[in-house]
Symmetry: none
Subunit: 231 residues, 2 copies
């Protein structure tokens, strides 16, 4: 996965609105997808709900400290990259932040170009470590090569089938509604909204291929609710 070609999600935790504005503006221009939290609770909520490629964390927050957020990330075994942004260049803060699992540290004021450089390197570092291969039981998926193998045997999936499989595994143990699937597959939020029946065909084909290749029956139909990759 090439960093520059992929949409990276960044969470900015910052209460100074002028700075936040500038950061969002600049990062958006660089094709980062930015979200903002302006206080401790909002930050916590976002962190609980989503996963970001990089979190920019101001340590001075209304309602709680940035350190608590770092702790929270650690407790939840979240693997979001974190860059601490702090007004004071205190050595203790810096060390304890890095010890708590932050990836980098930036002192205010900073140049925005410096910020993007750090974000880039944090994400690259993480993506290098992260395998491009997902293994779920007997199923092995190479995201780069876009291949799927079951017990070392290749399974030929079409593009849509592959996308579905990734989507299911990425949402394992969650119900995925038919319309969510449809939207995901069409990639278009336009008017695929009336008729989602084509999903039936794809589901059937995917199930059949997986089953013929000897995979376990993980893809369950939940009558009236959608589908679920259950593991």
């Amino acid at each position: 996965m090439n960093i520059s070609e992929q949409l990276m999600k960044v969470l900015i935790i910052e209460d100074e609105s002028e700075l936040a504005k500038n950061m969002i503006s600049y990062l958006s221009d660089q094709n980062y997808l930015c979200e903002l939290a302006v206080d401790y609770q909002q930050a916590l909520d976002k962190i609980n709900d989503y996963t970001y490629d990089c979190i920019l964390l101001d340590l001075m927050l209304p309602g709680g400290t940035g350190m608590d957020i770092l702790n929270e990330l650690k407790n939840q075994n979240k693997e979001d990259g974190v860059i601490i942004i702090s007004a004071k260049n205190s050595l203790e803060d810096r060390i304890s932040g890095l010890q708590l699992g932050a990836d980098d540290y930036l002192t205010k004021p900073f140049h925005l170009s410096e910020l993007t450089a750090r974000i880039y390197s944090v994400i690259r570092r993480r993506n290098f470590g992260n395998a491009n291969v997902i293994e779920q039981n007997e199923i092995k998926i190479d995201l780069l090569a876009k291949t799927v193998s079951i017990r070392e045997e290749k399974v030929m999936l079409t593009k849509k089938e592959f996308n579905m499989l990734i989507f299911f595994i990425g949402n394992k143990n969650k119900v995925v509604s038919k319309s969510a699937l449809a939207e995901h597959l069409s990639g278009d939020l336009a008017d695929m909204l009336d008729n989602h029946d084509f999903i039936y065909a794809h589901i059937k084909n995917l199930k059949k291929k997986l089953q013929e290749a000897g995979a376990g029956n993980y893809l369950k139909t939940l009558y009236g609710n959608g589908y679920k990759w259950e593991i």
Copy 2:
């Protein structure tokens, strides 16, 4: 109080009719009950008259600004969840919106699946705190997997049964009238006058399944008044 792709009331404040149409279509499909306001005055009227689980607020409105609506909600101590929907360029608005107490924001254009994810988060946080799993004595409900377990044993519920259970637990120790249940389950505000006897069947089925699975007898019938989840 229901969650996820279940029946929740959502107010869409949006003047772009094409977008509004798509949102309504998609959200309705996910079992949200949608209402629309296309300008400032309509929005204000709706907000004054009803309570919504989540308000989707476009900041650019004919006749007034979305900020005024946020202020109005705050002044009235309304607790409706609010997700701001804004164009990419209005950064200041997004920031001050969050500072004015909006729960989240979304930048146009967005994926409808992203929208439902946000709505889900907002509603869940408001109704159940920050958890995708609700535990009530021996009953455990996973809102994302849409599963119910009793002492680690799965109980298979239909969609309506699941909705009822969530509704009861969200209104625990409160009397829920048969017609309220009926309205909640059917999602139709119109047919308040119809007969609601189908509720009997659902109640019976739910009670039976819970009882067979060994759950305590929490769902009480209050003769002539409705039902109550008593804990």
